[in-house]
Amino acid sequence: MAKKEFHIPELTGHTEVPDIVDGAMAHCRPFVAGAEHQEALGFPGELVEGWEQKAIAKLGELLERNRALRVYLDTCVKCGACADKCHYFLGTGDPKNMPVARQDLLREVYRRYFTLSGRLAPRMVGAKDLTKEVLDDWYTYFHQCSQCRRCSVFCPYGIDTAEISMAAREIMDHIGLGQKYSNEIIAKVHKIGNNLGLPPRALENTLEGLEEDVKEETGVDVRFPLDVEGAEIMLVSPSADFFAEPHVDGLIGYAKVFHQAGVSWTISSHASEAANFAMFIGSYEHMRRIAGRIREAARQLGVRRIVFGECGHAWRAGYSFLNTLAGPWDFLDSRYPVPQHICEFTYDLIGRGALGLDASANDDMTVTYHDSCNVARASRMGEAPGGQFHIPRELIKASVNRFVDMDPETTHGKTFCCGGGGGLLTDDLLELRVKGARPRMQALKEVVEEEGVTHIAAICAICKSQFSTVLPHYGFEMDMTVSLHQLVGNAIRLGAKE
């Protein structure tokens, strides 16, 4: 598909709620997974015969399995409180990107086949037969949801459109209509252990290269160990950390932190991926399989602790789901949470004065912080609710002299998605990604102009990649985005401790 020209929204001041423009994004849909990528996950290779009945049967099955889905399909009162809360609606004006309207795409079918009112009076309650047209809308608009959960914060019943999107994608996978980007990646993890399909040998080379780089730059032997049995800590990081910018600078930061802490640690080639894209397609089975690799690796290497690197949805999969999916973790050191976030680990060290930070190392920057949606709204760090906001900011403040927060309507629990989460970080959705980033870019522009912010730190591999791509569309430099542990890494005085 040739790249389409599209209008890049202007940053005008604060984010206004757009007028609705029917079908504004109807043309924007990701590549459909081919048979090879479908079958690798056990899904049919193409749209199956009788997909209508099969989809309905699958929906019925999910309703039995998932209370959230059942309750949320029944409960919505169409109050519209969520309607102006989605960055994709704010960025595109397409009414089907209003969270409630997105849910309705599935709800209409649910009502038709599973409720009395929908069977008796479909027109009155907005119930619809599952037609090809409806399926097309499903494919389009359930792939215009980054599952960021912002809508669920504002809904009086906590209705989480992410749950609906996940269910819809699960149904579509089962009738042979999967999304190429996510399914291809999941197959790679099953086969090789990471999203990139990076084999152990290549991983080893990369890590050796990093050791040399750091040695050259600092003169200190900071190790990047791979598959070391008996290490204390296993680091599970998004594989983007191994090569993408600015992710890799974050990885260097973690290594410096471990070095400074004096703990033995290792990366596992078997579980060289924190990301769990199976979450995006709503597949419990695949999510469980990917999580299982982390358990296998921890067993194999005989580590005592598991620490996750910087990645938003991975932290959700780690913090909220790992215990359920791959626990119990009774063979690990019970004095530490399983898993622990690298930010928690570093925060702990700073609290004990064990790190030796010199914030002036980052004096060339004024930094703001982007709360990643899955960290903000689907997980926690530390002991108290809200630690996921507090701890990363404390790390930045310890590493940087000039820190500025963005508009509070766009941070913490109300943070806007970067625009590329939920399995949408693919070029075939570039238009959506650029437009969906608008609310975040708007808030960024404010602090750039008013506070002289030069960099935006994030703790999510997807956010970082997405920002690198979309920042230039809004007239910013692409390297404005930095990893949080890059800041920490810059500030660490290797060898020195307080």
């Binding site: 309750v71 169409k78 809904c155 906590g158 296998e296 903000a376 709204r377 108290a384």
Partner: protein, 246 residues
Amino acid sequence: MSALTTLFALLLYFAAAVMIAGLAYKIFQYARTPAPLKIPTTPAPLSAAGAGLRVAREVLLFESLFKSNKWIWLFGAIFHAALALALIRHLRYFTEPVWTWVVVLQPFGKYAGYALVIGLIGLWARRLFQARVRYISHASDHLILLLLVAIAASGLAIRYVVRTDIVALKAFVLGLLYFDWQPLPGDPLLLIHLALVAALMIVFPFSKLLHAPGVFFSPTRNQADNPRERRHLSPRAALLGNHKDA
């Protein structure tokens, strides 16, 4: 016993039965369906008690709605508070002697009817004139508002315009409760009011009014944030078993 009394007695029994059975079924269904994963919208309370409190705040104060939209919150709160008061006020038809706390609340209940209509009109205006809300509205969303307004209006009319025989009405209601039917006053307004209420009860378990039980079952609100401390295992996860370690 007049045909009218019999008709309404049967209608009201039927409506109550549908509502109670329908709601019981839905509640049973929600309770029975597993929540496979921990999905509270965070920051969330760390304990079950805290999560219970969070749900209570949603039910009593509409906490999340307040965060998102002050107008919907205002009209929604007015409507629901007024509805609660009106329902409490109606308890006097069901109790003999009338409970003291119901008596105490009577004077407030009087104004509740007006507040009810104001709240409903506010919500309806949004639905009609706000393009986003109009887009997501189906006929049933308007009809349910119409039904509620009609119930409130007929109730107010009975109270302030064409009064009915309250004593006879109460005898009728108590008669229904104790299966000792008494004649129902034949005022048309009263009959309309009762018929509309019966209709509301019947549609309750088949409509978005399910938000009433639903709010208690929303995992993003009622789950505690403690997945690392306590392993969450739904029956489904248990069925798949633990990972076999090599």
